[in-house]
Every structure is written in structure tokens, then in C-alpha cells.
């Protein structure tokens, strides 16, 4: 079983993604979840659950924020609501939320997702013993490490197969602070980037929200050419993140992965098909953004 998980930015897009045959919609709001393409109200979450469940699809709600006291108080009620809405599972990154989930015996499965921190099977299993039904792996892992983790983990692990990768999360409003210093007006933060000194071609996306400042790698991830390797490694949770690929373009990208998944399951995978689908992904990817495979092809010893 391979589970294709895709973010949704609107109810309409959620419908299109379900029509495209994704397995799970990934949604939520910034109060509890990190770096989502849109904030959904409880009413909207209910509606999406409705739409998804009618087609026997799942809904996962992001609760992977770093939670401060003011928000930990809201968690029990939010969990109640999610249960009532029939959400299939949540992602959690803060052990305080796990503590509450277990304490109140809320019957919602959770996947552990602390952004950068899951880098070994032993750690995945620590959370599995505390009820986690899966874990989102750090984006800084190489294929060799992914194989080993997947082999030794007691629960399924998730990797990002398409989309932007966050590489820095500060609680400070770093863009606002800079603009305050330079007396610039804070402009439309949707299209802001930074480039490294002496590397003018690099373009790391940066934006602020109520959780602070988020910076993304210069390349977005595209593992379409490597999906066979994921299947071989037994990695069954594949996420597609549309935070920077909006609207219909994202739906089109998702369709290529759906087709790839089906072909791999049907043993219909070929070089030709791979190339064709990969070209489509490139075609629908925002033209100003670049794609890469992140740490996937690196040697574990390349990173000191």
C-alpha cells in the first residue's frame, strides 16, 4: 500500500485532488499546524471530511506546530472537534500534544512530525511505542539512510516526494524586522526570496506567519524519477506539498504522481513513462522555481 498525501488550499482544490485520486488530504490552520497552503475553519474542515469520506479518502489535519502555553490550552477542544469531524489522523510535532492526546484517550491516530528531528529508526520506534502510527522523516536524509530507517522502523515513515522544503524556522519576524530597520514597507510576502552571498542564482523562499519566519531550500523536491527506489525501500507514505505550487498546477503535478504510483503497483513502470510523467511535473512546476532531489542522492558521509 502506498499512501499519496497532498495538501489542499481550498475546498474546490480538495475536490479536484480527490477526483485525481489522492489517498489523503492534508489540511489545517496555522494556529496548530505549520506551513500550510491555506487556513481552514472548523466548518471547512468538516466539509472536506465529508467530501473525502464520500469517496473513501482520508483527511489528515496538521497539529505539528511548536505549541506555546496559550495554544496548548486550546488543544483539548480542538481534538474534540477533530474527532467529531471524523478526521482520520493528525500530525504532531510537540510532545505536549501527544501527552494530552494520550491523557484524554482521544481515539485519533497521530503521525509524529517534528520537522527536522526524525533521523533514525530508533527514534521512530520511540514514538511508535507512545502511540504514533507513523513518522515524517527529516528532509536531510539520504536514500541510504531512508532504506535503513524504513527497514528498522515499526511504523510507516513519510517522505516528501514533491514540494518546498523548510530549512529554517524562527519564532522571530525576520522579514518585518529587516524592513523596520531599512524603513521599507513590508510588501507581498508571497514572492519573497533570499539568495546566498556570492550565489546570486539561489532563491530560498521566505515568509512570515503567526508561527514566525520560515525559509525553504532553493530547490523544491521532486522525487518522481526515484519513486521506484522508494517502493523498493518500502517507504509507503508519500507527501506532496503545494505551498508554492498553487491551484490547478498543483493538481496536475499530483496527477502525475497518482499515475506513477498506479503504474508502480501494477508493475507497469517504465523508463518511458517515468520520463513522460517527470516532464509533466516540470511543465506544471512554477517557472521561477527550480526542482531537485535534495539529499536523496547524497552519500551520508557528504554531510559532516
Amino acid at each position: 500500500m502506498i499512501e499519496l498525501i497532498a495538501t489542499a488550499e481550498s475546498i474546490n482544490q480538495a475536490r479536484l485532488l480527490i477526483d485525481a485520486d489522492v489517498d489523503t488530504l492534508y489540511i489545517g490552520e496555522a494556529t496548530f499546524g505549520l506551513r500550510l497552503p491555506a487556513n481552514f475553519s472548523p466548518e471547512e474542515i468538516k466539509e472536506i471530511c465529508h467530501i473525502a469520506h464520500a469517496e473513501h479518502k482520508n483527511v489528515c489535519v496538521a497539529m505539528n506546530a511548536i505549541i506555546h502555553n496559550d495554544r496548548i490550552k486550546l488543544i483539548p477542544r480542538y481534538l474534540d472537534f477533530l474527532q467529531e469531524a471524523g478526521v482520520d489522523y493528525v500530525t504532531i510535532g510537540d510532545p505536549g500534544v501527544i501527552h494530552l492526546l494520550n491523557k484524554y484517550e482521544v481515539p485519533i491516530p497521530y503521525v509524529y512530525d517534528p520537522h527536522t528531528l526524525v533521523t533514525s529508526a530508533k527514534q521512530v520506534n520511540f514514538w511508535a511505542k507512545r502511540g504514533a502510527k507513523g513518522a515524517v522523516l527529516a528532509r536531510e536524509l539520504t536514500y541510504e539512510e531512508l532504506i535503513s530507517i524504513s527497514q528498522h522502523a515499526d511504523v510507516p515513515v513519510e517522505v516528501l516526494v514533491y514540494g518546498a522544503t523548510c530549512i529554517h524556522h524562527s519564532k522571530r519576524p525576520l522579514v518585518t524586522n529587516y524592513f523596520s530597520y531599512t524603513n521599507e514597507k513590508s510588501k507581498n510576502q508571497e514572492h519573497l526570496f533570499i539568495s546566498e552571498p556570492k550565489k546570486p542564482k539561489t532563491h530560498y523562499s521566505i515568509y512570515e506567519d503567526l508561527n514566525g519566519t520560515h525559509i525553504f531550500d532553493t530547490n523544491d523536491i521532486n522525487l518522481l524519477p526515484h519513486l521506484e527506489k522508494l517502493v523498493n525501500a518500502g517507504i509507503s507514505k508519500w507527501k506532496l506539498d503545494g505551498i508554492y505550487t498553487r491551484g490547478q498546477a498543483f493538481v496536475e503535478v499530483v496527477k502525475q504522481f497518482v499515475q506513477a504510483k498506479q503504474a508502480l503497483l501494477d508493475k507497469d513502470w517504465s523508463e518511458e513513462l517515468k520520463e513522460k510523467l517527470n516532464e509533466k511535473v516540470q511543465e506544471h512546476h512554477p517557472s521561477e522555481r527550480t526542482l531537485g532531489e535534495g539529499f536523496f542522492l547524497k552519500n551520508p558521509n557528504d554531510v559532516q
Binding site: 511548536i66 505549541i67 506555546h68 502555553n69 496548548i72 488543544i75 510537540d94 510532545p95 505536549g96 500534544v97 501527552h99 494530552l100 520537522h115 527536522t116 528531528l117 533521523t119 533514525s120 529508526a121 530508533k122 527514534q123 520511540f126 527529516a138 528532509r139 536531510e140 536524509l141 539512510e145 535503513s148 530507517i149 530549512i167 529554517h168 524556522h169 524562527s170 519564532k171 522571530r172 519576524p173 525576520l174 524586522n177 529587516y178 523596520s180 530597520y181 531599512t182 510588501k187 507581498n188 514572492h191 519573497l192 526570496f193 533570499i194 539568495s195 552571498p197 546570486p200 521566505i206 525559509i215 512554477p286 517557472s287 521561477e288 539529499f295 551520508p300 557528504d302 554531510v303 559532516q304
Partner: protein, 410 residues
């Protein structure tokens, strides 16, 4: 009414055995050191087991504690031997290990029972339920994230009885700790395994880009300030009572890579302030000399981080850096002869007749004087103490003690 429950410990960094002894001598109640594996400062100042043993023995003689930082986030293969490591340091008598990776926590709990565990700030603990979670797992203490405010500390204290440790001084990550992999991506160095290359402090170009790839930079002229994410340092010397009244158990000073000059000065100041408050809180007043002393070892501007609000641009390093008066560590007192009023000093940086120098010792003692007469080891008068580690005799105007430090303004 002002109140406090218990005196908190002042916890100082110790990159080497010498720094460990210095920190304790200068009033630190506890020190944290790096083991030879699993630490985040993999390149600097890690102790061998023999050094650890010596450090623990020294600390015990002085009623102080030694903690070992093993706060890396392990990858596949890194965990082999971790059980042995924890057992060995437990048997050496280390008082606690500072860990963030749950895999290492589990190994430590299973394989080295009896070794207390502190959750590292790398785990960014920001709410009381997180502290309760770790308490139930068997941890003794949680180091709070630097993003927690003083009001939040108060609330956390009211909802949990696990020990709380908070940062009071030193350099800061501008990200939530553990949540920054800039170095992994930009310099192929793993920030969560001790490889951070401080990429946040670089100068970046901030620009808008449209769908055609057209870019518009915000800094266009040579003189325009480039974008960067460099935090100024923290100093909470003005707010020690807040920590004590809110029940913080341990006050942590950052800087395992810093010098003995830094460690001795900072430990001295904070233990003085804590002692002053706990001895007589009714009459406690802030001493400007404490802050002045901290500036002598400061490298950047000082701030209060997130304790009293979200840091604005003033808490980041933009523009021209203000000139901070730099003091140089020039020697350490080895011996003092009361009758002749002559101090024997080991030189650590050159100084000469006529220099205005400052001696400082534990308990915040200071002697300021001009050097008028000095002799070398053979008793010959000298003008300048030029050789590293040479022994110099100095005519003193007031008594000093062995292990007192000597500094001068550059």
C-alpha cells in the same frame, strides 16, 4: 511581597578541564561539558573519560555538579555504543546528561538507569504539557526553549514540578533550536550533529521574484543594509529576581567554546547577583558594576531575547556594529606574598610597566592598579612581560589571591 522558594543553580559552560575548574572556582554551582561523542559541539572542547573523572572529582570536592551534553540528533549508525557511553559517564559520577534525541533518551533510560536526564534546549520545549510529558518519561529536568517568555515560565512553573532550566546569558540561535538546517543545505554540515556553520549570520540578498523570474532586490546600493538573521547575545543580569521568583531551578550560561576569561567573568557576576538576592531579598538592588563587568567579555550587543516580548530589529545585528570595549585576559595569579605584597603571575598575554590593569577574583573582588614594578623568575627587573606563560612577579598595592585573573583594556 517578594518571595522565592529556593536558590537556583548557576550553570556555566566548560569546554576544558581548566575551564571547568575556573567556572566552579568563580562560583558556578554546576558546569556542563561535552563528551567525546553525541555532543553538538563536536569540534570543540570534548572531555576524555579521564578528564571527566578528574572534573567530577574536583566538582564534588567543591559541592558542584557536572552535566554532560549529549544533545545531537542521531542518524542511523550513530547510536552504536551509546549505552556504553551513558553507563561509563554514570559510573564516573556525572550528575546528569543533557539529551534531546528521544532515541538517546531511551537508550539512556534502559541502559544507564540512575543517570538523571535533562532535556536539551534543542528540543524546543515551549509549554507545560511538554514538560509533563518528559517528566512522566522519567526526565529530571527540562531546559526551556529560548523562545519562552517570563510570563510563560511562570505559567509553566505553576503546571509542572519537573526542574526547569533557562538561559540567562550568551549567544543565541535565531531559529527555534533544532529547527534550522541552513548549514546542512548551504555548507553540507549537519547543524543537529554539531556542524552548524552559522549560516544565519551571513549576508543575504532579499528580493521579490515574479512568475517570469524577474527579480527586485531590496538592497540595491552598496550602502544598503543586506538581509541577515544574526541575533545579538543575551544577558539577563537585570532580571535575576524574575527567574528566582518564578521558580527556575537552573540558570544557564551559554558558551562551551568561550575562554576562561569569559567563563570566570560571567560565572562570577551571575553567582554574585544570585547570592545577593537570596541573602537579603528585601534589600536587593541591582548593581551597575555587574553589567559593566559583563561588557568586558561581550562580543555583541546584549538583549533579553524573548523573555519580555518578541525581539524586534534592535535585537538583530544590522548596520554598523557598536564598538564594544574589549578587555584582554593577560594573566593568572599563581601566588601572593603578604609581607612583600608581591604577586606571582602566569602571563597569558603581554603587558608592561605603566599598564592600567585589573585583577578580579571569586566573590566579585577587584583590584585596579597601574603596574609600577615587575621582575622575571630570576628576580631581574623587567619592563614588559612578553613571553607566553612566563612567570612574572608584580608589586601589588592591594592583596590578591591565587587563581585571581588579570585583564586590561585593549
Amino acid at each position: 511581597m517578594k518571595k522565592w522558594k529556593q536558590k537556583p543553580e548557576v550553570l556555566a559552560p566548560a569546554g576544558t578541564l581548566e575551564k571547568l575548574k575556573t567556572a566552579i572556582h568563580y562560583g558556578a554551582d554546576a558546569v556542563y561539558i561535552g563528551g567525546n561523542a553525541y555532543g553538538l559541539r563536536s569540534r570543540a572542547g570534548n572531555f576524555t573519560y579521564e578528564e571527566m573523572q578528574e572534573g567530577v572529582t574536583f566538582a564534588k570536592e567543591h559541592g558542584a555538579h557536572v552535566y554532560v551534553a549529549a544533545n545531537m540528533v542521531a542518524h542511523e549508525g550513530d547510536l552504536q555504543g551509546a549505552g556504553d557511553f551513558f553507563r561509563t559517564i554514570r559510573d564516573i559520577g556525572v550528575h546528569a546528561v543533557i539529551v534531546s534525541d528521544p532515541a538517546l533518551i531511551e537508550i539512556c533510560l534502559m541502559e544507564a538507569p540512575g543517570l538523571p536526564i535533562h532535556l536539551s534546549t534543542q528540543s524546543s520545549a515551549t509549554n507545560y504539557e511538554t514538560l509533563n510529558f518528559w517528566k512522566e518519561e522519567g526526565l529530571e529536568r527540562v531546559v526551556l526553549a529560548r523562545e519562552v517568555s517570563m510570563d510563560e515560565i511562570k505559567e509553566i512553573r505553576n503546571h509542572t514540578d519537573v526542574e526547569i532550566e533557562a538561559f540567562i546569558h550568551g549567544a543565541m540561535c535565531i531559529s527555534y533550536s533544532g529547527r534550522c538546517t541552513l548549514s546542512n543545505h548551504m555548507s553540507a554540515r549537519d547543524a543537529n550533529r554539531g556542524g552548524c556553520s552559522q549560516s544565519c549570520r551571513w549576508k543575504y540578498d532579499l528580493f521579490e521574484m515574479d512568475h517570469n523570474g524577474m527579480r527586485q532586490s531590496f538592497a540595491v546600493n552598496e550602502t544598503d543594509e543586506p538581509f541577515s538573521m544574526s541575533a545579538v547575545d543575551m544577558s539577563m543580569i537585570h532580571h535575576i529576581p524574575d527567574f528566582i521568583e518564578n521558580g527556575v531551578d537552573s540558570l544557564k550560561i551559554e558558551g562551551r567554546m568561550k575562554s576562561i576569561h569569559y567563563v570566570s567573568t560571567v560565572a562570577n557576576v551571575y553567582s554574585e547577583a544570585v547570592n545577593a538576592y537570596c541573602k537579603d531579598l528585601a534589600n536587593f538592588t541591582f548593581q551597575q558594576s555587574w553589567e559593566d563587568e559583563l561588557w568586558k567579555v561581550a562580543q555583541r550587543e546584549l538583549s533579553t531575547g524573548f523573555y519580555y516580548g518578541t525581539p524586534k530589529e534592535q535585537q538583530q545585528l544590522f548596520g554598523k556594529r557598536r564598538k564594544i570595549p574589549v578587555y584582554k585576559f593577560i594573566g593568572q595569579v599563581l601566588d601572593y606574598n603578604d609581607s612583600s605584597q608581591i604577586a606571582t603571575v602566569q602571563q597569558r598575554n603581554s603587558f608592561a610597566i605603566g599598564d592600567e590593569v585589573e585583577f578580579y577574583g571569586p566573590g566579585f573582588t577587584h583590584v585596579y592598579q597601574k603596574i609600577t614594578q615587575m621582575w622575571n623568575e630570576e628576580g631581574k627587573p623587567i619592563e614588559r612581560a612578553a613571553h607566553p606563560m612566563m612567570k612574572v612577579r608584580i608589586q601589588m598595592e592591594a592583596p590578591v589571591k591565587p587563581l585571581d585573573m588579570m585583564r586590561k583594556a585593549r
